[in-house]
Symmetry: C2
Subunit: 214 residues, 2 copies
């Protein structure tokens, strides 16, 4: 790895990894930067630049070998590294995530679920062990859980995040409205459906008025 990688490149490389798996499943062996770009909605220059952060791979005549490309992503980014995850909040969203099998297939299997409502812990049918929310720190530590998904109401998010951090988590995907205060060594990604709908809606409005950057 020659240079520091910008975060947008990492995001694109993750999307590319997904795509590579799909193309390989379809029996393809080679792919050009142009093709990758078309699939990902990114221009070919960016694709090549992103890949170049991983070192030289391509065959100048025939494009990239999918197998090699995937190999580079694995070697450089440990992109398929398994990490144990947990879910905090077992409402509708939390339950949907709990049963989301792609997590296991991708190596991010959920090994614990938490909720402050003891009732839920006792009634939900699942193979994943469930615990009360006040045990988050202990269990995260004991079970060597590295990633947490937060699907709790906003008012509970800060406290839950704190417990995850105390337990030594390295990353949080936050579905709640609350903003998780930054903590060194803990990376947070926020997902907010309503926010996304607002953004799309505003982009549409602005594009019509032609006051949109880009």
């Amino acid at each position: 790895m020659n240079k520091k990688i910008p975060i947008p490149s990492i995001e694109r490389l993750c999307a590319m990894y997904q795509l590579i798996e799909l193309l390989e499943k379809n029996g393809m062996e080679k792919v050009s930067s142009t093709e990758l770009g078309r699939h990902l909605g990114v221009n070919a220059n960016s694709i090549r630049k992103d890949i170049s952060y991983l070192g030289e791979i391509g065959n100048c005549r025939a494009g990239y070998s999918l197998r090699k490309l995937r190999g580079y992503l694995i070697d450089n980014l440990e992109i398929n590294r398994k990490r144990r995850s947990c879910i905090i909040g077992l409402g509708r969203l939390g339950n949907a995530i709990l049963e989301y099998d792609r997590l296991f297939q991708s190596g991010f299997g959920i090994v614990a679920g938490f909720d402050s409502n003891i009732n839920k812990i006792e009634t939900i049918q699942t193979n994943v062990p469930l615990y009360p929310a006040n045990e988050i720190s202990i269990i995260v530590k004991r079970e060597k859980i590295e990633l947490g998904m937060l699907a709790v109401p906003a008012h509970a998010a800060t406290e839950s995040a704190k417990r995850l951090v105390d337990g030594g988590i390295i990353g949080i995907v936050n579905f709640s409205l609350a903003v998780i205060q930054p903590h060194p060594g803990v990376f947070v990604r926020n997902i907010d459906l309503v926010g996304e709908l607002r953004i799309v809606s505003i982009l549409s409005m602005l594009s019509k008025e032609n006051i949109l950057q880009t």
Copy 2:
């Protein structure tokens, strides 16, 4: 509105709107750029720049009036504009979204659900009318639906997106793995939980090796 607004600014302004509602609910009336920045994990300069795209608002002594600030967001971005939405795919995630009441509170109420499995349409208990997937275009047009949420398996996503576009949708939030091909006037935002976990995981790894940009 004086200038073109960068997309990252729009994203931050949406988060800010969320925060403003919360602060007002807590009885606050004024807020400074520093405070907003601290809550949102953004530096105060960015906050002021973002707000400045909406025109001059602040009182130099006392910061921003929350009421006025919200007003400007509404006037300039129509950030609280109501838009009818629909959900495609009524699996676990689709069902969780179907019952997500914040959508209604935020003005993005779901007015139709779709699934290719007729069984689901007949058995799911909900107030929202459900239709078979092949009626997407017709219903979107008839019900004047502007936003679509895609929660279908990857192999069905392209076809579903096409139907939404045919129906005249203006925005799609895509939870599936498939990449929705861009279409003029249709804005797409992708949400991929596994992708987010991968990103967090890679960021953590790279930060330790110090080969991360920023």
